[in-house]
């Protein structure tokens, strides 16, 4: 007997390819990365960047795209199925809401893997003659994996509680903006003790700072453990809360 979660992930995967619209998203992703790569070789200022700097920048773009994909997918995961009248038929089956949420989370991570697979050739093309490319790739993969799980979980958590996809997406985009906001404020403010604490508590800031540390500053793994632990910890808490809070009655 096939596991329901596996069956549902397989269905999502088929939908991604067969509905074609899923692939449009990845076409857009590859076009954004192509544009950035071409800017690196054609723009005078960007062309002065050394490989590590370019690698760090493209990693940041990949993480930002991952956040966007994860929350859009997460927002649609439950609210979208409900709006399209496809959720009820799934819930009538022996699948529990926890199974559905787990499958959606699993597929959210798969989407990141696909994004990473598309981004990897760009990263290699940009960073292969510079320092820390392999390390950077490994860190980006691991951190992106955790963050995709985290942001998919946040998206699904909101999607379960807000009935329309549009409103769910709005709330989730606000969350993404909030979590990215420390990166936007000036480095001087982030150097204050409160700024440092806020940076440390924010998994997205942790991710960006870790990539900066390993790619640009060549810091060893031992200096990243606290930040990585923070990302893993927050991810674990949010994922557990999302799965635990999944109920059929939420329909």
């Amino acid at each position: 007997m096939k596991n329901g979660v596996y069956v549902l992930i397989r269905k999502e995967l088929k939908e991604l390819f067969y509905s074609v619209k899923g692939l449009f998203f990845f076409l857009a992703v590859s076009l954004i990365l192509s544009l950035f790569s071409l800017l690196l070789i054609t723009n005078t200022e960007l062309s002065l960047l050394d490989n590590a700097q370019a690698l760090y920048m493209i990693s940041g773009i990949v993480l930002a795209l991952m956040m966007l994909i994860s929350v859009v997918y997460g927002s649609d995961a439950i609210a979208g199925e409900r709006e399209r009248y496809t959720l009820e038929t799934l819930l009538i089956t022996p699948l529990t809401m926890k199974d559905i949420v787990t499958a959606k989370l699993g597929f959210g991570v798969f989407l990141y893997m696909l994004l990473f697979a598309i981004a990897a050739p760009y990263i290699i093309a940009v960073g292969s003659s510079g320092q820390n490319m392999t390390t950077g790739l490994l860190y980006l993969f691991a951190i992106g994996l955790m963050l995709s799980l985290l942001y998919s979980a946040v998206g699904i958590f909101v999607s379960q509680r807000i009935r329309s996809f549009k409103n769910s997406l709005l709330v989730n985009l606000a969350i993404v903006l909030l979590s990215a906001s420390p990166i936007l404020i000036s480095p001087a403010l982030r150097q204050s003790s409160i700024g440092k604490i806020a940076d440390y508590l924010n998994p997205f800031a942790d991710a960006i700072n870790t990539l900066d540390a390993v790619i640009i500053d060549s810091e060893p793994f031992s200096m990243q453990t606290l930040r990585l632990a923070m990302i893993a910890g927050v991810t674990l808490i949010i994922v557990a809360t999302t799965i635990a809070g999944a109920k059929k009655e939420a329909l």
Partner: protein
């Protein structure tokens, strides 16, 4: 054994009481018609039976098992066709049914899926994207999906909505066949009383969150039997003279004569009486048919409420 026992079920959304102590007993192997006006609580009740909704108070047993406790086991034995549902437009019908076969964990090969598609009349369209299906075709595929796990209890919400008369007849035959061959218990919620008359052995009428009527759908309700009161112009009229093969005299009060019409439409009966020179001034429907029963239960409640 009863397939479904619902005892004193209560459910409210905030201050809005939707089910107010509804009780219902559905026997194994019967086709039960669940009737009631919009907002009576039918959909809520069906969702609760399906485990898609919690309830505030009361008890639900399905095949002797408590709904809440044996949720997973019961969901393998139950299936349903919701009133509003959509298909995954990018799929083909075979893929759609295979998906649900896998979700139910039933071993379902392509031959069995094709047989199901043939039963609902979709076999010529098995490779067509379901996004291109008409409303009726979607309904049929939805029904095929609802049969994928050979359910012991099948809950159907407006299953013939959007179907043409031929399609309706085919679904009727399919459901009767299913009930006869497999002993599948079917709960049918619909506003199409003709469906109920054709399919159901028992009915329940839900109104304002309570079951106002539950009983066998009697032959007289199934066989188009009506009770009428006629006003005749002549008080000396001999009432027994109106008795024919299809009209039976019951009683007379002054110029009012009460008759039962059996087997023909009321207008034909009136026509026949007029042809026999019976001086009818007016005719008032008193009873008969499921429609009459439905209106009498729901209107009576409404009148009580108004008064």
């Amino acid at each position: 054994m009863n397939a479904v026992n619902i005892i004193d079920l209560k459910k409210s959304y905030g201050s809005n009481l939707v089910l107010d102590g509804a009780s219902m007993h559905i026997k194994e192997g019967e086709i039960y018609g669940l009737l009631g006006p919009n907002g009576a609580g039918k959909s809520t009740l069906m969702r609760i039976i399906l485990g898609l909704m919690s309830y505030d108070d009361g008890k639900i047993e399905i095949f002797g098992l408590e709904r809440k406790i044996a949720a997973k086991k019961l969901s393998r034995q139950i299936n349903a066709l919701p009133e509003f549902f959509e298909l995954y437009g990018w799929m083909q019908s075979i893929e759609y049914l295979q998906l649900f076969a896998d979700l139910y964990g039933v071993n379902c090969n392509e031959t069995r899926i094709r047989k199901l598609l043939a039963e609902v009349g979709l076999d010529p369209f098995e490779r067509k994207a379901v996004g291109d299906y008409s409303q009726g075709m979607k309904k049929r595929l939805g029904l095929a999906r609802a049969l994928i796990n050979d359910p012991k209890l099948l809950i159907l919400d407006e299953p013939t909505n959007g179907l043409d008369p031929n399609g309706r007849r085919e679904i009727h035959d399919l459901l009767l066949d299913l009930n006869r061959k497999n002993g599948t218990t079917i709960i049918l919620s619909t506003h199409i009383l003709d469906d109920v008359e054709r399919l159901c052995s028992r009915i329940g009428i839900l109104y304002n969150g309570k079951l106002r009527y539950e009983g066998m759908l009697l032959q007289n309700e199934k066989k188009q039997r009506y009770r009428y009161r006629f006003e005749v112009a002549d008080a000396t009229f001999e009432p027994t003279s109106c008795t024919t093969d299809h009209i039976r005299f019951i009683r007379q009060e002054d110029r009012w004569v009460e008759c039962e019409i059996d087997g023909i439409a009321p207008y034909k009966a009136i026509q026949s009486l007029l042809e026999h020179d019976i001086p009818i001034n007016q005719a008032i429907s008193l009873a008969g048919s499921l429609e009459y029963l439905y209106f009498s239960v729901t209107q009576e409640e409404k009148m009580e409420k108004i008064s």
